[in-house]
Point group: C2
Amino acid sequence: MLMPDGVAAISRLDDLETPRLLLDADRLERNCARMRERCRALGVALRPHLKTAKSLDVARVAIGGEPLGITVSTLKEAEHFARNGHRDILCAAGVVPAKFAHAARIQRETGCDLVLVTDARDIAEAAAAFAMDNTISLSFLIEIDCGEHRSGQLPDAPAVLDIARVIDASPHLRLRGVMAHAGHSYGADEPSAVVAIAAAERDAAVGAAARIRAAGLPCEIVSIGSTPTVLFADHLEGVTEVRAGIYMVWDLAQLSRKVCREDEIAVSVLSSVIGHTRHARTLILDAGALALSKDIGANRLLPGSGYGYLCDARTLARLGRLAVNGVHQEHGTVSVDGKRGDLAHCLED
Amino acid sequence: MLMPDGVAAISRLDDLETPRLLLDADRLERNCARMRERCRALGVALRPHLKTAKSLDVARVAIGGEPLGITVSTLKEAEHFARNGHRDILCAAGVVPAKFAHAARIQRETGCDLVLVTDARDIAEAAAAFAMDNTISLSFLIEIDCGEHRSGQLPDAPAVLDIARVIDASPHLRLRGVMAHAGHSYGADEPSAVVAIAAAERDAAVGAAARIRAAGLPCEIVSIGSTPTVLFADHLEGVTEVRAGIYMVWDLAQLSRKVCREDEIAVSVLSSVIGHTRHARTLILDAGALALSKDIGANRLLPGSGYGYLCDARTLARLGRLAVNGVHQEHGTVSVDGKRGDLAHCLED
């Protein structure tokens, strides 16, 4: 189904130039179907987050033929998806005035319903002035801090209503609702902790929405999200939509918290062994910091996972306990600890 | 001089959409001129490494009108520079047989003199077979391990001569010489240690070249490199060329080892403050893990440098002791420690 760039079949794996990202289309389909099913059961709309995949093909699978809006993190991503047919896009990172013109251009040129986010009254005031000067319309969610303390107003802060009133008072702005993001769910490794964080995320968003409505202001969207909280929430009453993205492909960090299984991870990096440095007992791969990233977040709960596990290119089965232990820009280093099982897999190919 | 993408003058800084990489053209020019001067003084050719900049504009500045070859890390980079006029390109990471066809295509379609690298006899044998089957020519350096123990053969290993003989025996392969890379110089923080590593890098490359020549085989290129070793070497007798790249723009990791000065760093990331989360005493930036990377290598010697220092966008002067302390994909978090000087700079704009 996903056959970009001339990749016709897995039988050609040996011919692919490396390093190269491999996406397992079957796993992707299953992961996406499962999340849509979960959201149906919860009675909320799914607004898939495309900041990870950044791909039209993946967006199509995530949406699965349903009339779903999408989430992105930047206006560049928003523009890409808007120019390719997406009509309902939430750009879920706080906007600043220097980006208003770009947002307006995306809406004007694509007809997309683009929803922006802020947690600041001065941004709302600047948006009202910009929209009036340029006779355009901008839509906003107000960001609520549900405990991560990254951004957002606390749900009971007076500023929530201040910002809501500034937006609602402008004939050029539309107050669409609120959003919360429990990013701290990624730091929890106990299901019970995630359940509690999911409840706090829901209560913060629903509570702020209730305050806005009680003040006579509109609040049609109540948006929460993070893959773990959506999966672990006991209910999502009052929430209208969830934003989640990593569930599409999963990763070792989610595996480390048992939010996914190893055989659900849909993305891997095909790499070549470009050196067997026997005197240093290392294998050298052509996948380094740029191919694998320097993200080692999984190691807290999965010590030794390094920059990624080594897997068989065809079966994706783990190669002993081998992992990429070090990265340079284009080189990955694998320490071979001398155990016969590991050596047999890797120093003989 | 460098005016890509409509950036006409620094007076438009406020209009630039963020996050955005800023390259200080004057600093780049000075850094490049200084390295060319250093290499002239050492009596070696400079082969600038373009894996960091990946830019034709930067390559032009690095070369400075001299007839210099360049270094790259991947065949993608090699192809980009070859298709844009570069004629002497060393691809300084071990090649594998699945990449021979790409290397051959680059040479055939651009006329570029592309030099590949290996440290393995079986790669040399595969190259000989491929080149014979396809009636093309491939050029090689043999990689020598000078103490980093990442890749390469030890300079006195029998394999060095084995590989040299396999290459020299093929009418389709050209043995061009040897290369060593003292990547472990980046781990040294004492000038005296770097001087010693530079000597080891030089001696390994020159020693291996002497063995190859003593066996009656050609070895025209003796290539070493890493910015610190080139700058700290007491002499480079017997070396023909040096590969270095980070000197063009510098970074906090090099600053932490005092290899450069703060006012020589030519690259920064222009970012917007998208949130003032006063209840958590944090500033939120729109430069996160993708804009800044997750590289925190500078923190070993510069504790508190985080993912980068906060600087004034116009003067590049540091803003107190503020740094990006945490990153999410598109968000950077700055902890404000309550000191008045720091707050004054950043919570009032």
